[in-house]
Amino acid sequence: MAKKQKRIPITVAPDGAILHTDGVVKPKTDWFDYVNYVILFVFAFLCLFPVINVVLTSFATEEDYFKYSFLVIPEHFCIDAYRFMFQKGIGRSLINSLMVTAIGVLYNMLMTSLGAYAMTKKDLPFRKPFLTLILITMFFGGGVIPFYIVLEDLGFVDNLLGVVIPFGINTFNMILLRNFFSNVPEEVIESAKIDGSGETRILFGMVIPLSLAGMATIALFYFVERWNDWYWPLLLLTKDELKTLPLRLREFMEKSENQNYADGADGGLSFELSRNYATVVITIIPIFCVYPFVQKYFVKGVMLGSVKS
């Protein structure tokens, strides 16, 4: 992809087609291009439309919602849904989620960098057993119940650290990061060693700063994993004051199925769906904030990782 962008047009052929330096004739736009644009647009529309509707519905009243069955336009713009959710203690869950994510991503990045750096050392004695230890876990595991019993034994039930510490390393991410670390030239590391830097200095002062794209990619993956995680929190965090956002969202979703909260329970104009969607919006905002900044990194990152493997 990058190669294509680098081509510089030098001549224009008589029929209007642009000749590139490498001699490839870029054909004129034909009917297929238009069909292609339309297909891609429809696909992108299907991806984005529901999200837009969620945001709009969260600000709408029930009247608006039933008036516009396709694209909901919040004619009577109201924030009652959000007010209701915060009354129901979503603020607490928001703080829990932020805490779990912040501590979790830091811990994930630390552990993953340590492991990935060790994996790059090609002549490390006992490297094979170390790699085997890691790779076996990609094929076989103990299963959910034994894992739960271990976490219970270690006191991770009803403990916010319980959804952080046991999930320190995602093996896929570690291998991906290793690929980035391997790209740091051997000579750079050797010369640092000759200058007397220790391995810790080399890792944190050299290898990590030189693999920023990789670090950003992995950090995004971990961020999304921690932020969206709901399965283990569902099993481990049973107390209300410890619940994270996705758990609350699930709860509200299920409650609205049983219709425990009557519409207008808060005296406002919010209704079941707008309240659910308000929670969804609160949950999505951080992802939307981080996503555009990291996007250019992760496309490169995943490509590098996948081409290598």
Binding site: Y37, V51, P125, F139, G143, I149, L249, M303, S306, S309
Partner: protein, 329 residues
Amino acid sequence: MKKTNEIAIPEVVAEARKHKWKRLGKKIWEYKLIYFMMLPVIISYLLFSYYPMYGILLAWKEKLSPSKGILGSKWADPLWHNFTDLFKTQAFLTAIKNTLVISLLKICFMFPAPIVVGLLMNECKAEGYKKGIQTVIYLPNFLSWVIIGTIVKDIFGYDGVISSLREMFGIGSRVDYMENSDMYYFVLIAVSIIKETGWNTIIYMAAISAVSPTLYEAGTIDGCGRFRLMWNVTIPCIMPVIILQFLLAIGNIMNAGFDAVFNTYREDTWEVSDILDTYIYREGILQATNWPFGTAAGLFKSIINFALLMTANTIVKKINGQGIYDLGD
């Protein structure tokens, strides 16, 4: 070790052997900090990946008695009855069937989607437009299935868009598709395609971008149009990636996607939607008395999964000379 013993003089060989251990010791000392760095990683793997494997023993126990621990709990009598019980349970058999059906549907419809979209993206000439499309189609991958589940329930539910359109165009009355067993697979697969296709194109686009431009030049000179180039150059060039992804999908056939199903299924559709993972969750985890039974079900799944993955890995190794998760050195 260096090949110093090519001439193989006995004394030299003996000397080299003696030094081998010394050198190994020296090397380990040289890497002491690396070992120190590896320590937390190894502990983490041992504690959270290997220690739970011991808990598998629970599959042969009657029930877990908290005071005695897993090993001290009473053995099942007869020993294998948790496993034989599995196959006497209709719900479990249904779950196996559903898991396979959903996985196969995914392979048929979800697997080709990113290849098609990747090829289309490659044909897209307007770079700005392409970038915009990419930004949008990668996005759903970052939303959790809890969120998607909430949205899906609204779109396909009784008051949802689909139901409204149905009524508007006079096709029929309002229907709650989420409670309709006949529609469940359609809803699940359609939503999964929208959520995951965009993200999965990345790997194919990476493969496409690695195709040598000279092949396209040669093709153009031979008079190939864009479709011929796509068919005769791009697709054969990305075939190894397609095969790898295909084998991975086969290897993961027992994982029909817990998150997706769990957040979209209803009790009314269990007949078609209950997969192994959701079954284990409901029957095993939620009821502590059933833990041995749940563990047995989980183990059954893990073993088949392991066998499938190993087979896929062997085939990949034969084709590529490198396994799925080999580190290339």
